[in-house]
């Protein structure tokens, strides 16, 4: 068996190489942990929606400068908009929960999708933080941001990657 002479350092392209996971792989801690974090991220969304519903009138009057008098068109419209926002929010959160389940079961596309959204969320927060000096503290967005970063860390780890891309027996109809 002849082997070519190798350089004294490895090419960075090694980071792009495929994992070759063992065929029988148990669910790694990183995958379970990542799924749990996605659920927590959904719970943070629930809290945010409840807070929005409770503070809705104040948001409309103070932030949007719209007078809300009982019985006017604006009040009725504001209630409709709130309902629509809550429904859309609930649908998104259900989708997030479904993603958590898929990630837990080892779906690769769900893992990639979750990581794409986490990356977008982190990037937006980073641009805010570094350009506008928006404050990120525990009282503002530190919790959701750290959840996003932890999700990205867990799901991009080698173990989670190998588990999501493990060779599986192809089932009929699947």
């Amino acid at each position: 068996m002849s082997v070519e002479k190798r350089p004294a350092f490895e090419p960075p392209a090694v980071l792009l190489e495929r994992e070759t996971p063992p065929p029988q792989m148990r669910r790694p801690i990183a995958t379970s942990f990542g799924a749990v974090l996605v659920v927590l991220r959904a719970l943070a969304g629930v809290v945010w929606l409840i807070a929005l519903a409770l503070e809705w009138d104040r948001v409309v009057t103070e932030d949007l400068d719209i007078e809300l008098e009982p019985g006017t068109d604006e009040t009725a419209a504001s209630a409709v908009i709130l309902t629509v926002v809550l429904i859309i929010g609930a649908v998104i959160l259900l989708a997030v929960l479904a993603m958590a389940l898929l990630v837990y079961r080892g779906s690769n596309w769900a893992r990639i999708t979750v990581m794409v959204f986490a990356t977008i969320s982190i990037t937006v927060a980073a641009i805010d933080y570094f350009s506008d000096d928006a404050e990120i503290t525990l009282r503002t967005t530190l919790i959701t941001l750290s959840l996003d970063i932890l999700v990205l860390l867990a799901l991009s780890s080698h173990n989670a990657r190998a588990y999501a891309r493990r060779p599986r027996p192809r089932r009929s109809g699947g």
Partner: protein, 307 residues
């Protein structure tokens, strides 16, 4: 080797590059950078909460030691640590781990039989349950003689299995040895074929590693003592086992392992031949309780001086 059909159903070699893998590489690095930022944000929170900030400092340490540094090490060591055999196992972060200081010949059943006969206990796999049990047993100092060992990597693979002996029922102190099956047709530097490589070290305490900032087992620097302990226990319990010593195989290791513990060795590599050890014979011997190592089963091969 002795196992026909073990590798016949291997899938075809995958393509070297794919978009999916490129995305994964991007996320891997991006997550590392984001984690650095997270550590900084948590650290800046530390000063905003007075005495309560100590809790944030603990969180900062956890993020730094268990998320940021491993990920950065992983990215950098992928590039700067050679991926061929250099006589060292690597940690899951890619840092250099315990030195390979033992080799074996024989199939897997024989290795298991020989180790069991020599009063070694097979370590559990690392799972959430076993990790939790090792934490509780360390704190309460209760015995956990199948405690898992941390994963170390050789040939890009985690150890196939590990054996250990607890000392005085204290889980912080234990003999342990990890085994890797060598790839088919793979030869040691110098050209000898062996079936298994192993790395044996003695955990002397649980401590704080200044290298990785993590809490880990500290290993005893004299790894030769542990190597000789493994060889002598296996020879004593298995009359069918023999050993050949490759002198000066890795002379001059005076280095550190992945946790920053220093390591000293005379560089000899014993090759244990356990291929004649059989499960049934081990059971028979355990009943009759014979235990003496015959000296004629030890043979020494002097190292070839090439300078």
């Amino acid at each position: 080797m002795g196992e026909p059909g073990a590798d016949t159903s291997e899938p075809p070699p995958p393509r070297r590059f794919s978009i999916n893998a490129a995305l994964d590489g991007f996320f891997f690095v991006y997550a590392g950078l984001a984690a650095v930022w997270l550590a900084w944000l948590v650290l800046s929170e530390t000063f905003a909460f007075g005495w309560f900030g100590i809790a944030f400092f603990v969180v900062f340490w956890l993020v730094l030691a268990y998320l940021v540094l491993p990920r950065l090490h992983r990215i950098l060591t992928t590039i700067y640590v050679p991926d061929y055999f250099i006589g060292r196992a690597r940690t899951s972060d890619g840092l250099l781990g315990d030195p390979v200081n033992l080799a074996l010949d024989g199939d897997e059943a024989s290795v298991h039989a020989a180790m069991r006969a020599a009063a070694w206990t097979r370590a559990d796999d690392v799972t959430l349950a076993s990790s939790w049990r090792i934490v509780t047993s360390t704190i309460t100092r209760r015995s956990y003689d199948e405690a898992p060992v941390s994963p170390l990597f050789l040939f890009g693979r985690q150890q196939d299995f590990a054996y250990q002996q607890e000392v005085l029922g204290n889980p912080a102190r234990r003999h342990h040895v990890r085994f890797w099956r060598t790839p088919d047709g793979w030869l040691l530097p110098g050209g000898r074929r062996v079936d298994w490589l192993a790395a044996g070290t003695f955990d002397r305490a649980v401590g704080f590693s200044l290298f990785t900032l993590q809490v880990t087992h500290k290993i005893d620097a004299d790894i030769d003592v542990e190597r000789d302990h493994i060889v002598s226990t296996v020879l004593a319990a298995n009359p069918d086992a023999r050993v050949v010593i490759l002198r000066d195989f890795s002379t001059g290791y005076h280095s550190r392992n992945g946790g920053g513990d220093s390591v000293r060795t005379d560089g000899d590599l014993p090759v244990l031949d356990v291929s004649d050890v059989r499960e049934e014979r081990v059971a028979a011997i355990e009943e009759s309780d014979i235990s003496d190592a015959a000296p004629e089963r030890v043979r020494v091969v002097p190292g070839v001086k090439t300078s």
